[in-house]
């Protein structure tokens, strides 16, 4: 493994974390959107809010992490991709602002009108943001981002079949992950009817995701040949293991083993993303730029690796502490509240 591959691997690991944790937060917003009227959807919305409230900001930072590692370690490819795909990225950025602000603020307003407005902004942007990010991936994977600044077509680079597939899959995967995660959360707090509701949503989303994935094979065959060949060649074992993990997750959901189902689902999603990476390897910008061509100088890559190593040592215990604390019940210290 070269230095460049190590750094890119770290960025990719960050992307995986963003997809799994941040993705589930987006998915929570999607289910919020589909929860029904104000009264009927209240309990489900409360459940979603309680599950993502304390962790969404931390989960969100994974994306920033990916961006800064890419622009430092793969400056040229970053500049090319971002300048060509600036429209979906700007829209995703606005989506993140709307989503983060609305989610954060709606808790602190009390009038029903304001709450509904913020709720709608949160839910809608949770749907659109992953769609645009998936579209960005589709643009790169289908070879529509040439190296050089804003060299690609600023519209067709993301308005194309592969981007549409990428965006749709991103939304579906987020929704699926959220549903599976929420099953376990709801049951832990004794909300068995909600757990069942999320279970059926997870089952339906899994089926739809599978169907879209199958149809996607045809799309990739026609629109993204490099990725297609990579997927059915080198990437085939990973594609197969994704399907296996997905089917396993279905079985676990059917038998209500929610915690193991989380792991199986995370594996299935991880395998999809790894499949994409392996499929287009060694290209960073398909088909123009390989990992080693795109990488920056050695001392920058070394500095990055040092920072990534040291940062991981700080991050992992911190994150573990946050998630562990989050599972604790209220008022164990009996501290007085004013």
């Amino acid at each position: 493994m070269t230095l460049a591959e190590l750094v890119l691997g770290a960025a990719f690991a960050g992307l995986l974390a963003y997809a799994l944790f941040g993705g589930a937060d987006f998915g929570g917003g999607v289910w919020d959107l589909l929860a029904g009227g104000t009264e009927r959807g209240r309990r489900m919305r409360d459940r979603i809010e309680r599950s993502i409230g304390p962790v969404w900001e931390a989960n969100h930072v994974w994306l920033i992490f990916v961006l800064v590692v890419l622009w430092t370690g793969f400056s040229r490819a970053f500049a090319a991709a971002v300048s060509t795909l600036y429209i979906p990225l700007t829209l995703a950025g606005f989506g993140m602002i709307a989503r983060g602000a609305a989610f954060a603020y709606r808790k602190s307003v009390s009038t029903p009108g304001m709450r509904r407005f913020f709720g709608a902004a949160f839910a809608l942007s949770s749907l659109l943001t992953p769609f645009f990010l998936g579209g960005v991936v589709g643009g790169v994977a289908s070879g529509r981002v040439p190296p050089g600044i804003a060299e690609g077509d600023v519209l067709s680079s993301w308005v194309n079949p592969t981007s549409l597939l990428g965006g749709t899959l991103a939304v579906l995967v987020c929704a699926y992950l959220a549903a599976v995660f929420l099953c376990g959360d709801a049951r832990r707090d004794g909300e068995h009817d909600l757990a069942d509701a999320f279970r059926s949503r997870a089952l339906v989303t899994a089926s739809v995701t599978g169907a879209v994935g199958l149809a996607g094979i045809a799309v990739l065959h026609a629109d993204a040949p490099v990725l297609f060949n990579g997927l059915i060649g080198r990437g085939l074992p990973i594609v197969v293991s994704s399907v296996a993990a997905g089917l396993g997750a279905l079985g676990l959901l059917l038998t209500r083993r929610y915690i193991v189902a989380r792991i199986a689902s995370a594996l299935a999603v991880t395998a999809i993303l790894i499949g994409w990476a392996v499929g287009q390897y060694p290209c960073v910008l398909v088909p123009y730029l390989t990992v080693d061509q795109a990488a920056t100088g050695r001392s920058t890559l070394v500095a990055l690796l040092i920072a990534l190593g040291a940062g991981t040592l700080i991050l992992v215990p911190s994150l573990t502490y946050l998630y562990a604390l989050f599972q604790r019940p209220v008022e164990i210290t009996g501290r007085r509240e004013r």
Binding site: V69, W71, A79, V109, A303
Partner: protein
């Protein structure tokens, strides 16, 4: 059809101006919230610590209220910061593509610092009733540390744009031999960081104090409001005089490294020995009109010698000069407000020293009430000074801003959208903060109901 419209608009206006405005708006908005991210955790946990040590429930209640406000401000800062990291590439791909490997590195460290801060903001707010006081206060320390590290990293990237170091260019202008650590600790980094760090404490301190000054003017003279004014005002009182001294340091750093910026800050065209310090005025035809001049002031400021020679704008080719009026007036505004804030602090300090109480007049409260906005204006003016003063360069002396901007068609629409989004974001942030201020039971974003 759409393409034609987009391209027409791109050609009609060019991308440079809208891109600069978009960046200025996004950064100018974010920087206020970044100040709170840097300074607020320290103030909140200090207040909580005092409360526990003295068994003072009023201080603990105050700390809890501030912690909630901190949660809202942090959320706003987090989302606006995300858009900024997109904009670095969207608007300035010529900068990121060519120099990302040199100066991108501190952003990676900042990414970790921000991550830690986000995690512990969650822990701190969520753990308010779940942790022992001791564990709870300890959980704030990573926030405080992350705020310092994050501020240094971001400012050092900006300092690099002012004084690029840590790389060589080959004959074709390609970067070779990038040394990111050296780039991070360039000649401007420390002065700029300390200046910004103190500014964060001034902005945060004066702004919070001003909220409680308004409350006291409306007749809420209880201990809660007095403490709410005293603690942040004292923080600002410590930072302000130090900042004036740091101002001297940073002015000298600018004089050494960016003479054109210094000349623009002073509106100085001719290279002069025994140069006077000009305040106000309008720069036209290579001359500053209607300015008030303090004889020998500038030479004293820069060289600590009344006869020191200060290079003027004439030393720099005409197409490498920054826009003088903006830089000069922004610089004057920053220093002027800084001096007025210093006087306010002196008033407060003198009365406190002699009588152990706040100055007993509504005029003092009125002055504190406007000090928050004044501090924000001073900070924005200082930031305009350094950013506009670097023009026409994005990387001083090496890469022009015009050469770094993205040529993508339709980029100007981003400015329109950003104006709309930030206007809405500002309105909603204010609404929510006012609501938090009114109602004790309103939860912060990171808390559970």
């Amino acid at each position: 059809m759409w393409r034609i419209v987009l391209e027409f608009l791109a050609d009609a206006s060019g991308n440079l101006y809208p891109a600069r405005m978009q960046m200025a708006l996004s950064l100018g908005w974010h920087i206020v919230f970044a100040c709170f991210g840097i300074a607020f955790p320290a103030i909140v946990v200090f207040t909580e610590w005092r409360g526990h040590r003295r068994g003072d429930e009023v201080l603990i209640a105050l700390a809890h209220k501030w912690a909630k406000a901190m949660g809202v401000l942090f959320a706003a800062g987090a989302v606006s910061g995300t858009l900024l990291s997109f904009e670095m590439g969207i608007l300035w791909p010529g900068l990121m593509g060519r120099f990302g490997e040199v100066f991108g590195f501190p952003f990676v460290l900042e990414g970790f610092a921000f991550f830690v801060e986000a995690i512990f903001v969650g822990v701190y707010l969520f753990g308010w009733n779940r942790l022992s006081p001791r564990a709870h206060m300890l959980s704030a320390l990573p926030m405080v540390a992350a705020g310092i590290v994050g501020a240094f990293c971001v400012v050092s990237a900006n300092a690099w744009m002012n004084n690029p170091t840590g790389f060589r260019l080959d004959a074709q202008g390609n970067v070779v031999d990038a040394r990111p650590w050296a780039a991070m600790f360039g000649p401007s980094a420390w002065a700029q960081f300390v200046h910004m760090w103190l500014a964060a404490f001034m902005v945060t301190g004066f702004l919070i104090a001003s909220v409680y000054a308004v409350g006291m003017l409306r007749g809420h003279r209880d201990r809660y409001h007095r403490a709410g004014l005293l603690i942040p005002l004292t923080v600002a009182a410590i930072a302000t005089p130090v900042q004036i001294g740091v101002g001297d340091w940073i002015a000298n750093v600018v004089a050494d490294n960016q003479p054109a910026k210094l000349a623009a800050m002073e509106g100085q065209y001719e290279t002069t020995a025994g140069a006077g310090l000009s305040i106000g005025g309008i720069y036209r035809g290579n001359e500053l009109h209607y300015a008030v001049e303090i004889p020998y002031g500038l030479s004293l400021l820069i060289h600590h010698d009344p006869d020191g020679v200060v290079p003027g704008l004439e030393e720099v080719p005409a197409d490498e000069r920054p826009p003088v009026n903006v830089v000069h007036l922004a610089y004057n505004a920053m220093v002027g407000i800084g001096v007025v804030l210093l006087l306010l602090i002196a008033w407060y300090g003198l009365v406190w020293w002699r009588r152990r109480r706040l100055p007993d007049t509504a005029w003092f409260l009125r002055a504190v009430a406007v000090s928050g906005v004044a501090a924000v204006i001073a900070m924005e003016a200082g930031w305009i000074t350094t950013e506009v003063g670097r023009q026409p360069w994005i990387v001083y002396g090496i890469l022009r801003t015009a050469a770094a901007v993205s040529p993508a068609p339709g980029l100007g629409w981003g400015l329109v959208a950003v104006v709309a989004v930030y206007t809405a974001l500002t309105v909603f942030t204010v609404v929510v903060l006012r609501r938090l201020a009114r109602d004790q039971d309103t939860p912060a974003p990171q808390e559970q109901r």
